[in-house]
Each structure stands twice: as C-alpha cells, then as structure tokens.
C-alpha cells in the first residue's frame, strides 16, 4: 500500500525530458573545448551570471512544482480498496501547504489582519454591527492587531537571520568547490572570490544568491503568519498563486521550444540543403502558416480543443489532467506558430554551409546526405538554435499573459500570471482598488522576463559569430 499515488502529467514528462536534454547537452559541451569556450564567455559576464542565478531560482521552484502525486483519502472502514483524493498535489504544494490551505473568505490587502470588505456580524447581545471582520489566518496569532508592526519586524529579523545562515552555507560550499576546481586551498579560494580575481565573477554570483536567499526566507517567514501579497476574490493567498504560476510560465517558455525544435531543424535544414522542390514545398508551408495571424490561429485551435474536451469530458480523470492537457496543447500550438522564424534562419544558414569547402569535400568523398547533415551541418547551426531558444523564452512568457487575457490561454483553473491579471481587471474598478494581485503578477513576471532577456543577451553575445 502506497501512501501516495504518483501522477505523471504530460507537461511533467516533457519538463523532465527537457531536463534530461539539457543535462545531455551539458555533458556534450564538457567533452569538447570548442563548445565550452562560448559558455565560458557567458560565465564571465556579470549581467549574465546575475540573471542566470535568478533564473535558476525560478527553475528550482518550477521543478519542485512538477513532481505530482495524489494523497489517499481517509481509509474506508469495510476494507474497501484505498481511494485517492482527486486533488493532484505537487511537492511544492506540500512545502507550501500552509499557504495553500489557509484560505480566507474574500479579498484582504497585503499584511492585513482584517478582511477588505465590511460584513454584518451579530454580537452576543443580539445587536448587529457592520465592521471589517478579523481574518481567519492572516495575523490570527496576534491578540491585538496593533502589535502587527512589531510582529512583522520580528518576523523579518528571523527571516533575514535564516537567510544569512543559508547564505553562509552557500558561500562555504562555493568556496570549497572553487578551491577544488582551481586546485587551491580554501583560504586562497575565499580571497579569490572576495577580490574577484577569478575569471568567473563569483563575488557577483554570491551577492545575487545572498539577495535571493534573504528575500526568499524573509518572504517565507512572513508568509507563515500573513498574506504578504494579500488574498484574491475567493480568499486564496496571492503569493502562493504567484509562486504556482512560475511553473506555468516556465512550461510555456520551454516546452514550446522543445515542441517546435524538431520541425524547425528538420524542415529548415532540409530546405536549405536539398534546395529544389523540397525547398519550394517547405517555403510554401511556412509562408502559409506565417501568414495566418498568430493569435487567431491559436484562438481557433484552442476553441476547437475546448469543443473537443467538452464533448469528451470523460477522458480526463482529474481537473488537473484536463487543465494540463490544455496547457500542453497551448504549447503545441504556440510551437506550431513560432517555428517558422527559426526555420527560415536555419534554411539560410544551411544554404550558406552547403557551399562551404568542407561540405563540398565531404560530398566529393561520397559521404551520404544524412551523414553530412548530422555530422557537418547540424553542429554548425546549433548556435542559431541556442540563441533563438533563449531569445524566444521571454516572448512566450509574455504571450501567455495576453492569450489568457484574450480567453484562449491556459485553463482557468491553472494558476498563471495571465489568469491573475485577467481576474484583476474587474478589481481595477473597485473603490478602493484591489491592486495587490496585479502588483504580484507584475513583479514576478517582470523579474522572470527581465532576467531571461538579460541572460539571452549574454548568450547571444557569446555565441553569435557576427558579434565577435
């Protein structure tokens, strides 16, 4: 008897597949000095490393949120088979169960101890009062709400302290690994880091890590007692929703590329290498797809998926499986509309390479087409693929918000920044305004997209031969 039932959602499989691909790529890179060189350039860039650390933090949350399972329901008495809860949870949900389960009645502002809306309550003596009721969880440990400021300060202090301890742990680990890597003593490695004498800006990395750890642990300490980004209309903690949205954003940004890569690579290289009628057909395909306005194609496809899912509702055993299907389908359709750009670039590059001397030589030696493409063309277009993939990521994350707003994005039950913004539209009109969902979605999205953009820039600077 298992005490939980693992659930593999489709996007989980793809995410972990992607992790595998990245690991394989990293292993390949380590084997070949010429592949390491551009990455070393990325590692030397300060902005690149800051954004990489921030991105890594997002990725960790996203990955922890991609391990799903269902917990069993309380045992039935008559020895019936164990039933599992229809609610699919992730490891992250378990870690943040305090955030997940502490649901208030409706809106409450950040750090509030009272609800945002007045309610009529009946006093013991029978008279009725209209007042802001206390929250069930936010600041509920305070006897007197006036102690709130002092309590927040205490929590911040505790959080900062834990953050600093973690940071020191991280610094220690980093020092030891630098010492091993550079074959110096730990003390020497420490001064190497502090004075920034190594080629990799360890000091900057460490500082970024420190900021993330301290901010993170402070937020964690505070979020146990308060709703630090307030609560939404149905009383869910907005901070929790924002954190959950990270996975959605990452899935859209990465799985989409995973989906489009095979098309773009196969068709782009084939068109450029074989020319002739193959080229004509492939050009026709991508011009046709490209000419359809992206949003409309996505809208059409999602509408049709909705019809399909509504008529085949019994295919999905849980709400999450259904929402996940829609997320996956969105990735597929986004991939279908976005491979054309990369395909055109690859076609051009393959056309150029085809005439290159080393490929002419290979042809003269009688090497087959497949072999030439795999051994000679593919490795020489990989930099274009890499640059496009990282550049597209941020655009896709932003696109999710717009699509969800239009109503053809992720499932309404999936937590995503787009859904948060969409819900917040109506809150704008409230007086006073409910601003915190927007603020939370904005800050999370902005941090992720900005660091993705900056990282993409440094990757492009390192890999684009035209910029050398």
């Amino acid at each position: 008897m298992m005490w939980f039932k693992p659930v593999l959602l489709w996007t989980d499989i793809l995410i972990w597949l992607l992790v595998g691909v990245v690991a394989f790529y990293a292993w390949r890179v380590r084997q070949h000095e010429h592949l390491v060189a551009p990455w070393r350039k990325v590692a030397r860039s300060q902005v690149g490393m800051i954004s990489a650390v921030v991105l890594a933090a997002f990725v960790v949350i996203g990955l922890v949120d991609s391990l799903h399972f269902r917990l069993p329901l309380p045992e039935a008495k008559n020895g019936a088979q164990r039933q599992y809860s229809p609610e699919v949870l992730s490891v992250f949900d378990l870690m943040a169960s305090k955030l997940r389960t502490r649901v208030e009645k409706t809106y409450s502002s950040p750090f509030a101890t009272h609800l945002f809306a007045k309610e009529t309550t009946e006093l013991p003596d029978g008279s009725q009062v209209r007042a802001y009721p206390r929250l069930k969880y936010g600041g509920a440990h305070l006897d007197d709400p006036a102690e709130r400021t002092a309590d927040i300060v205490a929590s911040v202090a505790k959080g900062v302290f834990h953050g600093v301890v973690l940071w020191w742990g991280g610094a220690l680990l980093l020092t030891l690994s630098v010492a091993r890597w550079r074959h110096v003593s730990a003390g020497a490695a420490w001064s190497l880091i502090l004075q920034g004498r190594d080629e990799i800006p360890w000091r900057t990395i460490l500082a970024t890590l420190g900021v993330i750890l301290i901010v993170g642990s402070t937020a964690a300490a505070l979020s146990f007692e308060y709703h630090i980004f307030g609560t939404d209309k149905v009383g869910q903690d907005v901070f929790y929703l924002s954190l959950k949205s990270i996975r959605t954003g990452l899935v859209i940004g990465t799985v989409t590329t995973l989906v489009m890569l095979p098309f773009a690579l196969l068709l782009g290289i084939a068109a450029g290498y074989f020319r002739g009628w193959v080229d004509d057909v492939i050009q026709y395909i991508y011009t046709t797809l490209n000419s359809i306005p992206g949003v409309l194609l996505i809208a059409a496809a999602v509408l049709i998926l909705q019809v399909y899912m509504d008529s085949n509702a019994d295919l999905f055993d849980t709400v999450n499986a259904r929402a996940d299907m829609r997320l996956l389908f969105l990735c597929l359709i986004l991939g279908l509309t976005s491979w054309t750009g990369l395909c055109r670039l690859l076609r051009g590059e393959a056309m150029k390479l085809r005439e290159a001397d080393f490929i002419q030589a290979a042809t003269a030696f009688g090497v087959g087409h497949l072999r030439i493409i795999l051994r000679h063309i593919l490795p020489n277009v990989m930099h274009i693929v890499l640059i496009t993939v990282v550049l597209e990521f941020s655009g896709l994350v932003l696109a999710e918000a717009v699509l969800s707003y239009v109503g053809v994005g992720v499932d309404p039950t999936t937590q995503s920044w787009g859904n948060m913004i969409n819900a917040a539209r109506l809150e704008m009109a409230r007086e006073p305004m409910v601003w915190w969902s927007l603020a939370a979605a904005f800050s999370f999205m902005f941090t992720l997209v900005l660091s993705a953009n900056l990282f993409a820039d440094s990757v492009r600077d390192a890999f684009d031969p035209r910029l050398k």
Binding site: A299, V402, V408
Partner: protein
C-alpha cells in the same frame, strides 16, 4: 516590374488556398458542425432535432465536400466547403451566428481600428527611430548603455501592464481622458489619445533596440569609415548615410505590417472599448462564433500577403540597385 508584381500575386494565390484549406480542416473537419451546434445549444440537454435545426439555420446542414443528393455541378457547390470557404476568395464572409453580415461588420469596424493602429504605427516608428539614432550617436557611452538597459526593462513588461497602468494614471488619477469608449468624428480624439500613447510607449523597448542593432551594424561598414574620413560630421554620417542604407532592413520589418493595421489590436481595443476589428475578434472568440473567427483568419492572411508584396515593391523604391524581375 509589373510582370514581377503579377507573379508575386499569382504566387500569393496558392498560399491563400492553403490558408483556406487549413481553416476549413480546423473548423469543419476536426470540429464538426455537430460539435458547434452542441456548444451553442449547451452541452447537456440537446436533442438531435435541435442540432439539426441549428445546423439548418446556419447553413451547416450540407455535406462537407461532395453532395451526392443533387445533380451536376451542384454536387460540388451545394456543400459546406463551397458555401463557407470558396466564397471567402470573393470576400463573401457570410453571416455571423447572430445573423449579421460579417462583410459589412468588417467594413464599418475597420475604421476605428485604423484610427488607433495607424497613429501608433507612425508615431511609434518616428519615436523608435529617433531613440535608436540617439543611442547609435552616443554608442559605447553611458547614455547608450542606459538606453539599452531601459529598453530591455521596458520590453520585459507585459503589454497588459502598460494599458492597466496608463488607464489608472491618466484616466483614473488625473481624469484627463475617459477610461474607455469611442465616438465618431473629431469627438473620437479624446478616446484615441490614450490608446495611441500607450501603444507607442509599449513598443519603444523592443522597437528602439531593434533599430539600434540595425544602425550599429551599418556603422561598422566601410562606407561609414570613408564618410568619416572625408571629414563629415557624425550627424551627417548618421542621417545622410547610415539611415539611408538602413532602410532595407527597416522596410523589411515595417512595410509588411502596414496592411494588417486594419486588423487592429485585440488587447488594446478590448481594454479601451473601441468598436474595431480587434474587439470584434475577441468578442467572437468569447462567444465561440466560428464564422467570424474564420473570416478574420482569412482576412489577416490576405493582408499579410499584401504586405509581403508591398515590401518587395518598397525595396525598389529605396534601393535603385534592386530590380524586380
């Protein structure tokens, strides 16, 4: 030249046919008229009679591609394909689910869309090129660097936030213009200002950065060095030489979108309540009105292809070396 344009137009026809077939497959084969009827009548309590009635009312009760029950040419014409898809080539879009003529709706709704999209396009182009020129002029200084940082930060903000922030600041706090709505004639001006302003600001980040890259690529070429060696001032080099030579890459990205300006912007129009084609589309998506969505897909593709042809023609206008044959 004329022969070339004719050939391009001929080349556009198979693409439009492709788009048409694709939408036909999406809307009628993957998703049958029965499904559509069920969506509109509610999933659960639907009788086959009700479905048949809905299909008849909306003209979906014919066979998809081939009608065996009639004679002669009608075998091909008395079909959904002929009714709904072939007519698009003549811009006969049929009727929406509400029974309105889609072609006429498009005719009236494209002007408000244009009233927003055209100023956004023109002002945006001018502003972006100006900023990019400034950054290129001050290249490799702190002005350039902070400009690039600003651009990256601005392009990291979702367009939705520009709209929400702009509406809050300008309309709600300062009460300068109405939050949303539209009017005819010169009265429309007060409704247009804010969406245009937001559209321009939202596009600065990616736009200026893109033009800056183009300009910097040009400034590293030999003719620029020659121009400098002749003793021309940096301003003359930039405006007289670099800008002219950068026209080709600029036109590549710019001309193609001009016809599509008619389509408007989905998000802007729905936020500002502008009765253009963008909000028309978004309403159709929310109401699951497939006829309208299909018409917009076709129209969008058509305008894009017109844009591609225009791009080619514009090349010959700015670069006499290019001959279209």
């Amino acid at each position: 030249m004329i022969a070339y344009i004719l050939r391009r137009i001929l080349y556009a026809i198979p693409i439009l046919i492709g788009v048409n077939l694709l939408t036909f497959v999406l809307f009628f084969v993957v998703n049958t008229p029965d499904n559509m009827a069920r969506i509109h009548l509610g999933i659960k309590h639907v009788t086959p009679d009700a479905i048949a009635k809905w299909k008849h009312e909306h003209g979906y009760d014919k066979p998809l591609l081939w009608n065996e029950s009639v004679d002669g040419v009608n075998k091909a014409t008395e079909t959904i394909f002929f009714d709904k898809s072939v007519g698009m080539f003549a811009f006969r879009f049929g009727r929406s689910d509400e029974g309105r003529d889609i072609g006429r709706d498009i005719g009236t709704r494209m002007w408000p869309s244009l009233a927003i999209a055209l100023p956004v396009f023109l002002v945006g182009l001018a502003v972006n090129i100006t900023f990019a020129m400034l950054m290129a002029f001050f290249r490799a200084t702190y002005i350039d660097f902070s400009g690039v940082v600003l651009c990256v930060a601005m392009m990291s903000i979702s367009g939705l936030f520009y709209i929400i922030g702009g509406q809050y600041l300008v309309s709600k706090m300062l009460h300068l213009v109405p939050i949303s709505g539209f009017d005819s004639g010169t009265n429309a001006l007060k409704f247009i200002v804010l969406p245009v302003l937001i559209g321009v600001i939202g596009g600065i980040g990616s736009g200026s950065r893109w033009y800056r890259t183009i300009f910097l690529e040009e400034t590293s070429k030999d003719y620029v060095r020659t121009a400098r060696a002749k003793g021309l001032s940096e301003l003359r080099v930039l405006f007289g030489h670099v800008l002219k030579n950068a026209m080709i890459p600029i036109l590549t990205g710019v001309v193609v979108v001009i016809p599509s300006l008619f389509m408007g912007s989905l998000v802007t129009e729905s936020f500002f309540g502008i009765p253009g084609l963008g909000s028309y589309t978004i309403n159709a998506i929310n109401a699951q009105d497939f006829a309208v969505v299909r018409a917009m897909v076709f129209l969008g593709s058509f305008l894009y292809i017109v844009g591609l042809v225009l791009t080619d023609i514009s090349y010959t206008l700015v670069d006499p070396r290019i001959r279209l044959e």
